[in-house]
Subunit: 197 residues, 2 copies
DNA sequence: GGTCAGTGTTACCGGCGGTAACACCGACGA
DNA sequence: TCGTCGGTGTTACCGCCGGTAACACTGACC
């Protein structure tokens, strides 16, 4: 009974809280605290905790909200016509474009998610998606090899992306996004091995 | 009360403090705090801070102490006779063996090193080492491509290693170290691209 | 009109990284 | 013999964090 009234209200509030979290994360990045999110939303902390449980819950909710859009972009990139290499390069480039557009958000989402087997997690979801994608492209069932490859590729792109965001675009090591994507794709397609042969 | 310590000079004290830090990190991992390190060493916090400046300084000192040994191991692995692929697999395996032997330590050292351009850093050092190694193996001067590849490989191995340490060795996704190293080496040598062709 | 669930608040907790302020002690010049 | 002075140690604190207990208000329902 009361739920019929509470539910729409709750979901609207939740959206408003997430809006506030978005703004704070965009402004403060990794340093975004629960207190600042609450202040930004014009409410007090316990409201935040009643909605999301703890900070991990807020992070997960934030991730869900943004990954939907990222999934679409990545899926589109994976659907690129051309060689498998083209598809990988497009996908890597799309991911890099996403983190370049909202660097603070992605730094926040990929920040060391503390040990307690947080099944939900941005990186975890990304790896799971990629595991399926790889298995599909290879035409096999997902196994340990696909899992390892997916984790590895995600780690590789995240690590280089993180480093890249910290470099001066105009500095000596300034690198265009396309060039970074090309180097990474080369690596994934055995350019290192080929060069040493 | 505090008796003792036949006038240890600064470097001896420093070594004792690092010994204590080693023990605490091995025991508490990421949760290791400055207070516990001080307690373990039987001194008070300000002593720690006078020696290392801040927590980043302690971490850097800990890293220097252990990376020397790791560098040797990796260099030995890179000197393996055989194909380039053999060398890469041996190197990846050596790194995985190191983090398997002291998981808590490596989790601590690779934990998100906060933004403030901490030039010293375990991951940074590793990437720099690998950049030179790759350039050497390719017979070229280190450039953007080598930097990207090094960062990428380090990120890839760290990410998978981290994930692997968290899996149950006896579980369904239990994976032997050698198998993980082999999958990663396959990936680096273009097995994914080859399989999709 | 009294009860009661839900929504909101304030004010607190323990723990963190980091530091100010003070106590002690041996060396040394008068 | 005394006084000062620098180095080494301590205690006790700061501000901030994530998280919560305890209480105030409000409005629907018997």
């Amino acid at each position: 009974m009361t739920e019929a009234l509470a539910l729409p209200d709750r979901s609207a509030r939740r959206a408003a809280l997430l809006d506030a979290a978005d703004r704070v994360v965009a402004r403060e990045g990794l340093a975004a605290s629960m207190a600042s999110v609450a202040a930004e939303a014009g409410v007090s902390k316990p409201i935040l905790y009643r909605h999301f449980g703890d900070k991990g819950g807020l992070t997960a909710a934030l991730a869900e909200r943004h990954t939907a859009r990222l999934w679409e972009v990545l899926r589109a990139a994976l659907g690129t016509s051309g060689t498998p290499r083209d598809r990988v390069e497009a996908t890597v480039g799309a991911y890099l474009a996403a983190i370049e557009a909202q660097p603070q958000l992605y730094r926040f989402l990929t920040a060391r998610e503390d040990e307690p087997e947080q099944v939900r997690g941005f990186t975890h979801g990304l790896a799971a998606l990629l595991t399926r994608g790889i298995a599909l492209e290879l035409g096999v069932a997902p196994g340990p090899r696909e899992q390892v490859w997916a984790r590895g590729i995600v780690g590789m792109v995240q690590a280089t992306g993180d480093w890249w965001l910290g470099t001066d675009p105009r500095g000596a090591d300034g690198l265009a996004r396309e060039e970074l994507a090309r180097h990474l794709t080369d690596l994934l397609f055995g350019a290192y091995g080929a060069a040493t042969r």
